[in-house]
């Protein structure tokens, strides 16, 4: 009651206080563009260090100095590196990543036509990955000494031992070549099936929006094996982290208190997971980057045209602008997910917010 009265009195001071209370996440969000810019600068200089001169390649070996200069100018490689940097940063704030050196098309549009497919595959895999990890960890928490619990613990120890592309090749051999239960690993849909016009550029979403469910089911059947491969190869990493956090949480005093007061099983489990989730969600944030990288490899293996094929082709074609654009966009996405995970962690556990003096438990 008195607080409400005080509110009405000092609105100005109160807004400031409210702002200060939200500072923990607002500062992070404000810093994000700065971080992306810093990374863009690193990408810019990194890409400029690549040996090889695209102007020389395009102009041909016996070009006169005049034609060579003309090609350089046409490619936007004229002037000092600082002039180029100026153009790059000025373009960046307008979401203009420059034109491709190889085919002259705007890099941002080229990437935006491919990125959604990659991100869609990564997101669907991510959701399934998180669900599978949570379910598997339940087996260990409920009965650590049972056969199922032991198998899951053992599986979590395999973190990183079998790379995704090996699991992919095994999957193709088993489920396509031998058992013939998944479609051929050469594309997103059955050959001859026309994909609907892009609306959102997310292939799966587009096919649903356009009501072309034959395409949807074809995409789903082509996605099945890639998703399984990504989930199987990445689940141990998450599982290891989650089990590591669940162990101490299950023996935490707060959990023991719940057990001692006779709380129902459900409540005890909720209490354990509530305590183990913050450090795990922080790892979810970094795993998404790994997943995006894995998706690039898996796309290459399953012939799904996306960002991976584009990046590999730009390396081969010495396409400076395409490479730095890809790097900047992938970094931006990874950093946004990292930030979301960070904020989610701090929401769940206020002690992790900056400036908060945690008193332990």
């Amino acid at each position: 009651m008195t607080a409400a009265v005080a509110d009405a009195g000092t609105t100005g001071g109160d807004v400031l206080a409210a702002l200060r209370r939200q500072r923990w996440w607002a500062l992070r969000v404000l810093a994000l563009p700065v971080h992306i810019l810093v990374f863009a600068l690193i990408a810019f200089f990194l890409v400029r260090l690549i040996p090889g001169d695209p102007a020389r390649v395009i102009a041909g070996p016996d070009a006169t100095p005049g034609t060579y200069e003309a090609v350089r100018q046409q490619l936007g490689l004229d002037g000092g590196i600082w002039t180029q940097l100026g153009h790059f940063v000025a373009g960046l704030v307008r979401f203009d990543l420059g034109d491709s050196i190889v085919n002259g098309r705007p890099v941002f549009d080229e990437i935006m036509a491919r990125l959604p497919g990659t991100v869609e595959l990564a997101l669907v895999s991510f959701v399934i990955l998180v669900l599978v990890t949570l379910l598997l960890s339940l087996a260990v928490v409920v009965a650590p000494r049972s056969p199922a619990g032991r198998i899951v613990s053992g599986y979590s120890q395999a973190a990183g031992a079998i790379p995704d592309f090996v699991i992919g090749v095994i999957g193709i051999f088993l489920f396509y070549a031998t058992l013939q239960i998944v479609p051929a690993p050469n594309g997103r849909t059955r050959p001859g099936l026309v994909e609907p016009d892009p609306i959102t550029h997310f292939p799966l979403l587009d096919s649903i929006l356009a009501g072309r469910f034959a395409v949807t089911s074809s995409i789903l059947s082509h996605y099945l094996l890639p998703i399984v491969v990504l989930v199987v190869s990445l689940a141990p990493l998450l599982l290891k982290q989650l089990l590591g956090a669940l162990g101490p949480a299950a023996e935490d005093r707060a959990t023991l208190f719940r057990v001692a007061t006779g709380a129902p099983r459900r409540m005890v489990l909720a209490s354990i997971y509530r305590r183990a989730l913050p450090p795990t969600i922080a790892v979810f944030g970094t795993i998404f980057g790994t997943l995006l990288g894995g998706t690039v490899i898996i796309e290459q293996l399953f012939g799904i045209g996306g960002l991976g094929v584009y990046a590999v082709n730009s390396v081969a074609g010495l396409d400076f602008t395409a490479l730095q654009g890809t790097l900047v966009l992938v970094a931006a996405i990874s950093m946004i997910v990292f930030l979301l995970a960070d904020v989610a962690t701090m929401l769940l556990d206020p002690r992790r917010r900056p400036g908060v003096q945690g008193s332990g438990s």
């Binding site: 990183g160 070549a177 023996e251 057990v259 990288g293 490899i297 890809t326």
Partner: protein, 298 residues
């Protein structure tokens, strides 16, 4: 880890403390020995692989796509090169790149971690720079190494030496973060103040006192880095940006064999894949063993 759920009155506190002591048997188990032997075998093959290979690993020595036989233990790939010989020869390349890039990444990472950790709370431009680098190291972990690897490898070019440099640069931040965390823990310790008051130079102090007390996590992490490094080398080879084609390298062999596997010819991908997995798994088992010991004793 004990199940706290079934009987609400279960005396967990009585059970919990002995559990970790029980579970860690004192001596190294069978798994550890097997892993050590396998890793030793991999190192021997890395040293002598090309010598013991029955065929020339970079030459066409038979009909293409033959299944494993007495003549070609691993069959031949779709160009007619001997898969088994190539897998043996590839061990040298993959393990060499992994070992050297791990050493380099750890050395660089420890130096960066020390520099950042010691200067982070300073005022002035040095402190600001250190804080910026520290934040950057945090952010770098969110960015997929494979995509950074694609760009960095194309920057360094593709031969064994430059691959080592590229992978070391990519993996350095992991070691730097570990070291930095330890330096922050150690930095306030009293023996450092004592050494400072005894008139020791700051650099000497860092090398003699901070380094030995903060390098342990990075050293324990070496086999993790080794595993990541092998997988990354192979992944880049798989994407086709690693060493050029006739070079026997596991990743590019697997990529090459993936097409064969899709038509049921499993062998040309299976041998390099198995070699890759055995190497990574063996080093990962040894890591788990050592890290568990450490947490068990401390």
């Amino acid at each position: 880890m004990t199940s706290t759920l079934p009987p609400p009155a279960a005396p967990i506190t009585a059970e919990a403390p002995p559990a970790p002591a029980d579970r860690r048997r004192p001596g190294p188990g069978f798994g550890t020995w097997a892993a050590a032997v396998l890793l030793g075998l991999v190192l021997v093959v890395a040293l002598f692989g090309p010598v013991i290979a029955p065929h020339d690993p970079t030459a066409v020595v038979g009909l293409p796509s033959r299944p494993p036989s007495g003549e070609h233990w691993g069959g031949t790939d779709s160009t007619g090169m001997d898969v088994f010989s190539r897998t043996l020869a590839g061990t040298r390349i993959d393990v060499l790149i992994a070992v050297f890039s791990t050493i380099l990444a750890t050395a660089l990472g420890v130096v960066v971690g020390l520099a950042v950790g010691m200067n982070e709370s300073r005022r002035g431009p040095v402190g600001t720079l250190a804080r910026a680098v520290s934040r950057l190291l945090d952010l770098l972990q969110a960015i997929p190494v494979v995509i950074v690897g694609l760009v960095v490898v194309s920057f360094f070019g593709t031969n064994t030496v430059t691959m080592v440099l590229a992978i070391a640069v990519i993996l350095m931040p992991i070691q730097a973060r570990l070291t930095r965390t330890e330096v922050l823990r150690v930095r306030g310790d009293a023996y450092l103040d004592a050494a400072r008051q005894a008139g020791q130079h700051e650099l000497r102090l860092i090398v003699k006192h901070v380094l030995p007390n903060s390098v342990r996590p990075a050293l324990l992490n070496v086999s993790v880095i080794l595993g990541i490094s092998i997988v990354l080398t192979a992944a880049l080879g798989f994407l086709g940006v690693g060493l050029p084609p006739p070079t026997p390298e596991w990743g590019s062999m697997i990529a090459h064999g993936a097409g064969d596997a899709a038509v049921g010819k499993w062998w040309s991908a299976a041998f390099p894949a198995a070699a890759l997995c055995v190497t990574v798994a063996a080093s990962s088992v040894l890591t788990n063993r050592f890290t568990l010991r450490r947490t068990g004793s401390g």
